[in-house]
């Protein structure tokens, strides 16, 4: 074996282009795998750590009033790990600009700050219990409030001016969201102010009591059992709502994003790895094929087939492990940066980056298997090679004529070089298949990722100009009589106005549960254009609910199913309602009902919670601000901005995939070219001797590649669309549904990218032909 190992070194040296090419494909695949997988896990770890550090509550219970003195007794009765009462109140903030409306949530904290404890980024905890507050970080940042500044708000008819003593991050408000109606953060319009319990009790009138309880459970305590117990045991306190950690708004949003990232990082790297693996197998079997003469010699010298297979497998493995080395190092480096970028999207003040050896282990294992397999697979042909036969070039398998020759009128028109090119291509099916495969992969990767980007962008357009067309979305701070729409029409210059009801409900279907907003609107609404899955127009009706496609999927419900709605309004019975139709909607996960039907069946009263309106009145906002009971006014632009901000993470992660796809695409095409060039050294040399110029040879190869490229693009586009849809599903979540629809524009763009990669790799061909030492090549008949 010693001699063979020496030959291995020689072989590697002789074929260093290919050797490096194999390593690069492995490295790129692993780099993507390593970086995305560890970014996802690092992110989850960071979140878990943060929750651990801040002792984030497992259950939140909203009640009318709970006496402080009952708390210790509840702790022992239910055997919780910990329990705290607190006061949570929303209050309008008083700002310089009286046209502005900002809401602040006042949350009481104690000195102990045990559950949901704050993570101070600046300043100190409260010292003067009557005047000091701590501000949530995002709000302070968005409004430019610093430690030492003051903040004013109105509570129970009294104005308070408080001193900002600290700025802190809270595990409860990583996403700063007000309520289910306003799922998207607007950091300057809603903030959280932490006050002392004493101040909260005095200013709210809840002396000696709280209106919320936060609970930490012991390990192994069953959430649903606890929930049932609380449902009974807390009735006397005026139980409003029990929220488990998984349904807590901020956490729910982060979980959504993390799930999406995890899905993407679970499948995208695998996709890339599989592509790398396939390329690897093809490359190695091609190179063994090319080496058949030497293999024949080795066999003639008396080497056993198994020894030769091991020899080539070693070659594959050495290239593979060079790739592992480069890929894991680069991957680990990128992973840290990637995690950091992701973390910056969340408001998590800590960062935990770990290097996971397990990924290195997987990389080694994966590469080992693929390289080993491809070495064996590629070299298995060796078993069949007879020494004598191997010295001769391999005959093309196809018969004398290629099918095109039979189309005589066409064939006669072709110039000789075209005939040569076509024959060359069609008679070298395997070599052609390899390059073709490279082009298909590259093109489809490009199509898929560009479609993903395109859909991400167009989702806003479609949602806000086709699906939902109001200029403003206005929410009241309390349900009002329907006549309020008329009053608003008098206040400002309004073109069209429609009432709405928007309430969260818990939907139950089979074993699945989901909290969603149900929106009640007029049957003949001008603000929504509902389309069912077939693309036909549909309306809200007394027949039942319209639910969004993503909700239907989440619930496992289809048209005609009956869904149970559980209300959060105390003492209300669940009602059953039919799914009238399923609609497509790019942003959000909701259900829609006819407004009167909703009021009758779910509220018992003809109340509305807000209005939609169209208006060109430039003073609309200031006019409405001064009206009573208005909590939020969102223009279409506001809504778009907020969504866009929310999607930042997705857009970035898609961007990363696009870049990775580009790198991989290029390395595939480049490798395919290099390998194919290696096989053709002899051919080019002979042509040079015959007096072909470099340009003539290059033009032959170029035209050959052109045919392959065209074929690859034609096949790659539909494949890319399939891949794009899969990626779209992966990136869809509660907040948005990415419907991947291919467009000519993205297809053309993808083609251009593919062509650029191919053109770049053709430079390698050109270089090879220019530098070709044809005397050497002819001398080195046997490598």
């Amino acid at each position: 074996m010693k001699k063979l190992d020496k030959r291995l070194l020689g072989l590697i040296k002789h074929t260093k282009g290919q050797f490096i090419a194999i390593a690069v494909v492995v490295a790129v695949g692993l780099m993507i795998y390593m970086s995305m997988s560890s970014a996802a896990i690092n992110l989850q770890d960071t979140l878990d750590d943060y929750y651990q550090l801040t002792n984030f509550a497992d259950i939140f219970v909203q009640v009318v009033k709970i006496p402080e003195k009952d708390i210790p007794q509840l702790l022992s009765k239910y055997d919780f790990l910990d329990i705290e009462d607190r006061i949570v109140l929303d209050a309008p903030m008083i700002t310089e600009d009286e046209n502005e409306r900002a809401t602040i949530r006042i949350v009481s904290i104690t000195d102990e700050d045990r559950i949901n404890s704050l993570y101070y980024v600046k300043g100190n905890p409260i010292r003067d219990k009557d005047h000091d507050v701590v501000l949530v970080e995002q709000f302070a940042r968005a409004r430019g409030i610093d430690v030492g500044d003051s903040i004013k708000f109105q509570l129970n008819g009294r104005q308070y001016k408080m001193n900002v003593r600290g700025i802190a991050a809270s595990p409860e408000y990583i996403y700063l969201i007000e309520n289910e109606q306003n799922m998207l953060p607007d950091e300057s319009k809603f903030g959280v102010v932490f006050v002392s319990k004493e101040f909260a009790q005095q200013s709210s009138g809840l002396i000696g009591s709280g209106n919320e309880v936060v609970i930490r459970l012991k390990d192994g305590q069953d959430h649903s059992v606890v929930e049932k117990d609380i449902e009974k045991g807390f009735e006397k306190y005026g139980l409003k709502r029990i929220i488990r950690r998984e349904n807590q708004l901020s956490n729910r949003m982060i979980s959504e994003e993390l799930t999406q990232l995890r899905n993407a990082s679970g499948s995208v790297p695998i996709l890339f790895l599989c592509i790398a693996g396939t390329v690897l197998i093809m490359m190695i079997s091609r190179m063994v094929k090319k080496d058949r003469a030497s293999i024949g010699v080795l066999k003639a010298l008396g080497y056993k087939s198994s020894q030769i297979i091991v020899h080539y497998t070693k070659y594959a493995l050495s290239a593979g492990f060079l790739g592992v080395l480069a890929g894991t190092i680069l991957g680990a480096l990128i992973a840290g940066g990637m995690t950091k970028i992701y973390i910056d999207f969340f408001n998590i003040p800590i960062l935990k980056i770990n290097f996971y050896m397990i990924y290195v282990a997987w990389s080694v294992l994966f590469t080992g298997i693929f390289c080993g397999f491809s070495g064996i697979f590629g070299a298995k042909g060796i078993l069949k090679i007879m020494p004598a036969e191997s010295m001769r070039p391999e005959a093309p398998k196809s018969g004398k004529r290629i099918w095109l020759e039979n189309i005589k009128f066409l064939w006669r028109r072709l110039s000789f070089s075209w005939k040569l090119i076509i024959k060359n291509a069609l008679r070298n099916k395997k070599r052609m298949a390899f390059v073709l495969f490279g082009v298909i992969l590259t093109c489809s990767l490009m199509v898929a990722t560009l479609n993903l980007v395109n859909s991400t962008i167009s989702i806003f357009d479609e949602h806000f100009s086709e699906f939902q067309k109001m200029d403003y979305n206005i929410n009241f701070n309390t349900p009002l009589n329907k006549n309020v729409t008329k009053e608003i029409s008098h206040i400002a210059d309004i073109e069209h106005i429609e009432p709405k009801i928007e309430f969260p409900f818990e939907m139950r279907f089979g074993l699945r549960k989901k909290i969603v907003n149900i929106i009640g609107i007029n049957r003949d609404t001008r603000f929504y254009d509902f389309r069912n899955l077939q693309g036909d127009k549909t309306y809200v009706s007394v027949k039942g609910l319209l639910i969004t496609e993503n909700l239907a999927k989440e619930m496992g419900a289809s048209k005609g199913d009956t869904i149970r709605l559980h209300s959060f309004i105390p003492d209300r019975k669940d009602i059953y309602i039919q799914v009238a139709d399923i609609i497509t909607q790019g942003l959000g996960m909701n259900a829609y009902m006819e407004i009167d039907h909703m009021a009758d069946s779910l509220l018992d009263e003809q109340l509305v919670t807000g209005v939609y309106l169209d208006s060109k009145d430039s003073e609309l906002v200031s006019k409405l601000i001064s009206a009573d009971h208005i909590s939020t006014i969102q223009s279409t632009q506001d809504m778009m901005d907020v969504f866009q901000e929310f999607m930042g993470l997705t857009i970035m992660s898609i961007g990363i995939i696009v870049v990775m796809a580009g790198i991989l695409g290029f390395s595939i095409v480049y490798n395919a070219t290099i390998v194919s060039l290696g096989e053709r050294e002899m051919e080019f040399s002979s042509m040079r001797v015959l007096g072909f110029t470099k340009n003539e040879i290059f033009s032959v190869v170029l035209r050959e590649n052109m045919i392959i490229t065209i074929a690859g693009i034609i096949l790659g586009i539909p494949f890319g669309h399939v891949m794009g849809r899969a990626l779209g599903n992966m990136y869809s979540n509660e907040i948005y549904t990415l419907k991947i629809t291919g467009s000519l524009k993205t297809d053309i763009l993808a083609c251009i990218f593919t062509l650029i990669f191919i053109a770049l790799s053709q430079l390698a061909t050109f270089r090879k032909i220019t530098k070709l030492n044809f005397l050497m090549a002819l001398k080195n008949r046997i490598s």
Binding site: E394, F416, S417, V689, L690, G691
Partner: protein, 234 residues
Amino acid sequence: MNTVLRVQNLSKHYEMGEITVRALEDASFDLYEGEFIVILGPSGSGKSTLLNIIGGMDTPSSGKVYLRDEEITDFNEKRLTEYRRNKVGFVFQFYNIMANLTARENVELATEICKTPLDIDRIMEDVGLSERKNHFPSQLSGGEQQRVAIARAVAKNPEILLCDEPTGALDYTTGVTILSLLRKVNKEFNMTVVVITHNAAIADMADRVIKMRSGQIIDIKTNQKPIDPERIEW
């Protein structure tokens, strides 16, 4: 007799670090129209080096080569390619024909790009491959492959046909038929043929023999009575 090619003080040195390999040293001779020349010498004596320079595939360290009146050692890359394309034909020990082209297509490959090609079918007939012209190299024997290579070189209608050990990979009988074929081509088209060999027996069929040793020409001898290739024995 008309001179086709003139070689003047041709040398080729390879600098290998400390030592200089003198692959070819001060070679001078003329080649005449319609001549059959054998270059004879042991392995490593510089035969291929000489032939490659004459064929425009390599450049000398010093010295000149003229084809008729043109100095090819002065040619640039482009003109050298043109020279290879139109003026010289090459036949190698290893046939170096394209595996994925049929015998006829291999010949077409050469005629397609040159100015004054001969009729392909006639050449195929001459080399005895008219029956097998649609076969792929792998379906042909070594000798038949070498005939394809000769047909390819001849069909270009070159001034000189350069053959580097054309029988090196063949058995005796096949070797003889190849040599006969070369002789036939030489006569029929009045083409200057240069054959490299280390087999002294082959020298007997040449019009002239150039003997080489250690990069130098040690003797140039004219055969008064070249024998028929069929009568060569080794």
